[in-house]
Symmetry: D2
Subunit: 344 residues, 4 copies
């Protein structure tokens, strides 16, 4: 059994890791930590866990000591030091925060306002989006688990990018996320009466996930890509829908697009390219690690429209992190993640 | 007092007309009709109206007879004959359906599968989006009240179009609508457990509102415009958010854009251009005739992003219809429509 | 025009008062205040009001000075002093807080932990539930506007109580309220992801509205009544449903019950006794001052079950306060409150 | 591996059975059937299952032939014949419908309007609420799986009943259910815009689950019990909260009540008696087989108030059916049902 530690277990992503890992046949949770709730039980914070997981939150040092692999779900800026400590102790490190996601330090500084504390460690870190970078993840020790928007947007576009079907200029990622994406801390914007029956964009063309989406698309395409990324806040608990728009290259047909998508994802268990006529819906993947993709064609404007739906807390956070753990420990990638999404 | 008739009063738009007109100081509801509920009380269908409006649904002939103006909220294809009858009787006709919205018969045939029965009547009909076509509406007898998506999308883009700030090619209208937009008839797709906690696109690049949005933008710009229009279904009762994307012409600055929007709408009571930093939210206009607009700038990709939020049943249907009535009867345009949107 | 002041305008009840009073034909808002937002515009707090009400929050002294009547929507304990000040200035005072609701000081101390600062003022204060105490309200200067649960529960039971149809022992008020009842301040319990898709009781048999419900039922029945009151939190914005249970006296028939309800409320515009077979639903009274009541009979257990639905922010707070204002200023009680509840 | 058949697989309970059984380590789904969708894939009806379960619906005869145990999720009246057929084939039968729940044929006739077709079969059938009747379920072949309201209401009251702490007269079960309880078929009442932001009672004191609750409480108490049962419809997908009221016998203290509950359920994995101060919340058990119970005391009115929360589709239907399967096949009762409820 893999001994797993979770740092930041009382945040939404950490708490979801506990749920998923509790059902994982090859892993056991060795220790959890929380700065805000040290000494308290996880089930004091999340009553749905009562009597099922009454582990007490320790401090992060204890967690590192007891673990073969540590998941960190922390506000950005707090993971670098921790990663170094894990490395020193020979503990694998999967970071659900943003510290290791951007490879370019200038971009990191621009969007997050911090620096790379240990450049060697950043060199070593791998961006953990398995459907694209599986081979690089294998055997690695420091994984930068992607953000939620940054998982579904590139998944929506990859087959078109890789096959050169679209122009790499002018791409738009119009996304909408459920409220858990904003975390556990209450504020006026996610106070029930002010969010319920509402819908709005936020951080328009200025969200920190922008350079991360661009980095992935640039890698896939081999050219420097700029995207317009606009997130919206949905009155639902879970789920992200990315509706992506791109100009098709001259002469590209819908049949080519469809074939490209079906082929590109034909061996990917967690990506479901939907049949013609269906539209990806967050309703259909919630509580699961699946990404549903629907591909659409606007012949009048010669555009590709690709929709991708994920559960922001699973494929967009904790589930993908476990998928990465499975890869680095050489397990079947699906282990512990095969649950069917509930129909309602 | 203007004597008002409502045909199709038991649909959502008709029912909303009753609510708004009941509070209108210069109008009184003379008669209502419904094919499905003839002989029944409106309050049998909508229990929120019980004892307040217990009018019995008659047939449409009775309604025309008793009215100075008739509002028709009918499935498309059923308004043309009715409009002719109203004209013959000297009754003004405001159509909430689609029959008179498209000026080009070929387009109507392509998207709706019907023909113009009386071409002269179509010539006479005016497209009732007052913020753009107020002068043409005055004194007219047949008004084509715009659809919901087709109200908010052009409102979001007009100042940029009219001032030549954006390229007219490649415009994207990414919209999301509350469920009332799909009407009163239950089906699997808006069955509560299958819609709640869901979000998806539908009729991608093939929705009938596409040519109507294009028609309005073409009139405003003076050139033939093609747009990519993708509607989504939101798990809320009311509201549409249009998030529109356009390429800025070279050298256009955010300051120019902002000035254009503030100037264009400076005398429009029902359009609220929000201050810098705010995002249009359907939460803030529900149950009202207001359209909130926020303007955003993506300098990295040189794009304009404009969001417009309306209540699909008010500014997107019944409220705008009453606004049109006010205009054709030479009343203050705000009459009966000045209610403040509730804060929650 | 009556000059109205609102103290505590940035809380939910205060904000709703602004919405309702803005449409009141005989009143104008002279000034508003807020401790937390003094110097800020109301529309900075509630963007739905932007450009429609951009009044700046002053301090409460200014408000008293400019007003004929002051509405206070404050946390309990803060109204007594203010009421005294208003009295000294000859300004009428309508308190949406709890300070003047309980007539018995011991009860006030037990449930709220405070004292009556000015006993004469408490003697003078009238409990403003117009359907029961209209005659006492007329001409008065200090009104204790009832709480939300304490409006709908007695309205559900009054006809049975007054006509002696039920036992006064063992009454149960099982209630469920929308989230606005908990106010504007965010906390973990009304953080969207933790409330959405949830439902639970709270403050079981220990909520402060208990003695207030008992006080009203005791007055109506002439005997000291104890009730079991259990509130629940509903994942909706607005509305309270009270489902009340009482043992029927021997031999009482459903026909007697029904006749009692219809007769008791026959002249009450704001109370709608629903026909046989219908159930009161918060969906049908939201955004309005109506109270829908349905009466049910459990012949097998010989119990009366009465359901009452109100909008907690209107009939349960701001609307009823305006109804009280209309009474003390000798206006038609319905003035400014006649809007039809929206059907969806 | 146990070969499982599901009849009525395209209804909500059937579909949930598929989800749960897909993850069951000792069972495999051998065949499914559906009258409405024979010949279609389950994933045509529920797109969340696409590519994961693309089984085709057969007819019920095929299902019986291929199975060791058959689950039937059918409208009432259709299970009796099927049960007989299964018996003849030596196939165990777990009925999620109502046909075998009531032991008294007169009651069945009164509430459901049908007769017992094969009295011997009814004698043989066991009521499958494991926490109460586990010993009788073992080794049986026909199980009447309880309804949703009829699982949580008796679970809320049992310890008080069994220990004689409450009067058996005057018990009230005030319940609220999520919309999935009403099934998959759309109708006006669960059309999204008419249910969302609503809450109401229905079938007040006349719901068919009444005699079933009474039957269980009568068995537990040894006396004939009559209850007042009032269900309400909640705007959530899943979950039932039962808030039950009973008069305490003289002198019973809260300490006695608490001890009774803790003791009665101390070995029940699926029942979680919550600590003092917590309230059972449907939010905390959704998608799981747990029943959370909170016990409350109204000393002023000498009443017990007990709240029980279950997921109506799991512990109230499919999960409990699998729990029964585990018992009759002599597996650990928790097998395949140990998943932690998600925290949001």
């Amino acid at each position: 059994m893999i001994k797993v530690g979770i740092i930041g277990a009382t945040g939404y992503a950490g708490c979801e890791l506990v749920r998923i890992l509790s059902a994982h046949p090859e892993a056991e949770i060795a220790a959890i930590s929380s700065v805000s709730f040290e000494g308290k039980k996880l089930s004091d914070v999340y009553p749905s866990y009562i009597y099922l997981n009454d582990m007490v939150c320790e401090n992060s040092d204890e967690v590192v000591k007891k673990s073969d692999v540590v998941f960190a779900a922390l506000p950005h800026g707090l993971s670098q030091e921790l990663a170094a400590k894990c490395k020193a102790e020979g503990v694998k490190f999967i970071d659900l925060g943003a510290d290791f996601r951007l490879e370019n330090e200038d971009e990191y500084e621009e969007w997050y306002g911090g620096n790379f504390l240990d450049k060697a460690l950043h060199e070593e870190a791998v961006y953990g989006l398995p459907e694209f970078f599986r081979d690089k993840i294998k055997g690695k020790s420091v994984i930068a688990n992607p953000g939620c928007y940054t998982t579904c947007s590139p998944l929506a576009l990859a087959p078109a990018v890789v096959n050169g079907l679209i122009e790499m200029k002018g791409i738009i990622c119009n996304c909408a996320s459920g409220v858990t994406g904003a975390g556990r801390k209450p504020n006026q914007g996610n106070h029930y009466p002010e969010l319920n029956e509402g819908f709005h964009a936020y951080k328009v063309a200025s969200h920190r996930h922008t350079p991360e989406i661009e980095q992935t698309l640039s890698k896939l395409s081999g050219e420097k890509v700029t995207v317009t990324f606009v997130p919206h806040l949905l009155p639902v608990n879970r789920g992200i829908l990315a509706t992506c728009y791109a100009d098709l290259k001259d002469g590209v047909t819908y049949e080519q697009i469809r074939a490209a998508y079906e082929d590109y994802y034909k061996d990917e268990y967690f990506v479901r390219v939907l049949p013609d006529g269906m539209c990806a819906d967050i309703h259909n993947i919630k509580y699961s690690n699946f990404c549903d993709i629907s591909v659409h064609y606007d012949g009048r404007a010669n555009k590709l429209i690709a929709c991708a739906a994920i559960d922001n807390m699973v494929k967009g956070a904790a589930g993908q992190a476990v998928q990465n753990m499975n890869i680095i420990f050489d397990l079947d990638e699906k282990t512990g993640l095969e649950f069917i999404p509930p129909a309602f």
